[in-house]
């Protein structure tokens, strides 16, 4: 059996991995009709007591929808996080996004 590569780096208690991935998969970019996880925009999530930190990118530095997507990520995570958790979403441009980050499902949808 082959295991699929993790869609993003995760550090923190194992019990939070699934709820966080689930929350991130609810953020959809309607332009590409896919979740931000399938497009490969989420680089890393770290979970510490009282503070969640997400590192993600966008496909374009000229994208005006960036703030809306970052806020959606924050909102979805706050819905599953324990009360009082601080959720930080950090936008980075390095390393730049490439098609290698797309999930198998995303690539199949786009005809790869």
């Amino acid at each position: 059996m082959t295991t699929l590569p993790a869609p993003f780096e995760y550090s923190g208690p194992e019990e939070w991995r699934q709820p966080i991935e689930g929350a991130l998969r609810r953020v959809i970019d309607p332009e590409v009709a896919m979740t931000i996880v399938d497009v490969g925009l989420v680089y890393a999530v770290s979970v510490e007591l009282g503070a969640w930190h997400v590192v993600m990118t966008m496909t374009s530095a000229a994208c005006p929808v960036t703030d809306v997507i970052l806020e959606d990520v924050e909102d979805e995570l706050e819905r599953v996080a324990p009360n009082g958790t601080r959720v930080d979403v950090e936008l980075v441009w390095e390393p730049p996004w490439t098609t290698d980050r797309m999930s198998a499902r995303a690539k199949a949808f786009m005809g790869w």
């Binding site: 309607p30 332009e31 496909t59 005006p64 929808v65 959606d72 730049p96 098609t99």
Partner: protein, 383 residues
């Protein structure tokens, strides 16, 4: 990460947003009024309005520089998140007011300032992300600047219009190019696109010089047909059209737009050969292509630009259908149906007004559904 604005900062942001919205809406409304008059549509009591002559003469200026230049400038400024980036949309927005209040020379200067500032903004974007699509956004900004400078120096219309529309076409092409990165491309696809876009630029340049204007227009038209074919082949819209909801609606807008781009390209060549297809050449691009993009992207761009969320629904298809049916009547039927051009133009304007109405009611629907009292989660990008 969420910024806690102080109430004074928040008030300033809201008034700035309202100010920009008013400038954009004014340019659009008066630009359309000028266009309707040109098409021979009766404007009733507005026919004697003091602003009408300027709106008629400056129809293209209002639509391209004051309306779309401001919207695109705002889009880029929001992405860049730097206050100085708002100089460009402020200047282009005010250029419309200057024109309508009887100061066309100042309007041209303001538009040129806006376009030069916009080139600066795009240089910063390229520095932030060195990629083919950001470089193309910069080329688009340069096209606007050349058009604005030619307009300010009262150069012949053909060159000005070619650069202005190239600005819009290149901007949208760059944004689509970014999306096509998600698709697997055949070998040589990128080179083909560069070739087509270079032809568009050379066509614009040649159109600006009297001795090569005819040849330039032929090249311009052919490059539009080529770009349309490239986008139909490689845009993700071909894939996302099979989905549902907002994603499918956006894809349909894109594909219809690419179809009109091809029609406009053929009409552009025909016009340069002496055929009476000028309206199809100009408005196949400006309405068929550009407004299709606006209709398609407003549901996702508006929440980003003006912080107004909305609920997408099937109602968005109504103005879209009206726009395309009325364009068909206006651009393709006049040979057989006298009056189709005028009726089609009036229905074009109605489609845009109807679209604004659908957007407003979708914003209201979001407010009702996710009002703070109900304390529910509201995602702007409901699909």
């Amino acid at each position: 990460m969420r910024r806690q604005d102080s109430s004074s900062t928040k008030t300033r942001r809201i008034s700035l947003r309202a100010g920009f919205m008013a400038l954009v809406a004014a340019s659009l409304a008066y630009g359309i009024a000028g266009g309707l008059f040109r098409a021979g549509v009766s404007l009733g009591e507005f026919a004697a309005a003091p602003w009408l002559p300027q709106a008629v003469l400056g129809h293209a200026f209002l639509m391209v520089s004051s309306f779309l230049g401001t919207v695109i400038g705002l889009e880029r400024a929001v992405a860049l998140k730097h206050p100085a980036a708002f100089v460009s949309p402020a200047a282009s927005g005010l250029s419309g007011i200057a024109l309508l209040t009887g100061y066309p020379a100042y309007a041209s200067i303001l538009a040129a300032v806006a376009a030069v500032a916009f080139v600066g903004v795009n240089i910063v974007v390229v520095a932030r992300q060195r990629a083919a699509h950001t470089a193309l956004l910069l080329v688009a900004a340069v096209a606007w600047m050349l058009g604005a400078l030619l307009h300010a120096t009262s150069a012949p219309t053909q060159g000005v219009i070619s650069w202005w529309l190239a600005f819009l076409v290149l901007t949208i092409a760059a944004e689509r190019m970014e999306m096509t990165r998600l698709m697997r491309r055949r070998k040589g696809a990128s080179e083909a696109l560069v070739g087509v876009l270079a032809a568009l630029a050379v066509g614009s340049a040649a159109s600006s010089v009297a001795s090569t204007s005819g040849l330039g227009s032929v090249l311009y038209g052919l490059s539009l047909v080529g770009l349309s074919a490239w986008l139909l082949l490689y845009d993700i819209a071909r894939r996302t059209v099979t989905t549902t909801g907002l994603s499918r609606y956006m894809a349909i807008c894109l594909l219809l737009g690419y179809g009109w781009m091809a029609v406009a390209g053929v009409a552009w060549v025909g016009t340069s050969l002496g055929l009476p297809w000028r309206d199809a050449a100009l408005h196949g691009i400006a309405l068929g292509f550009v407004f299709s993009m606006i209709f398609g992207h407003a549901p996702v761009i508006l929440p980003a630009l003006v912080r107004l969320k909305l609920i997408y629904s099937w109602a968005f298809y109504v103005p879209l259908a009206l726009l395309h049916l009325s364009l068909f009547a206006r651009l393709l039927l006049p040979n057989w149906l006298p009056g189709a051009a005028r009726l089609g133009s009036a229905a074009n304007a109605l489609a845009i007004a109807l679209f604004a109405l659908v957007v407003l009611s979708s914003i209201l629907a979001w407010r009702v559904k996710y009002s703070p009292a109900t304390n529910q989660h509201g995602n702007a990008l409901d699909t």
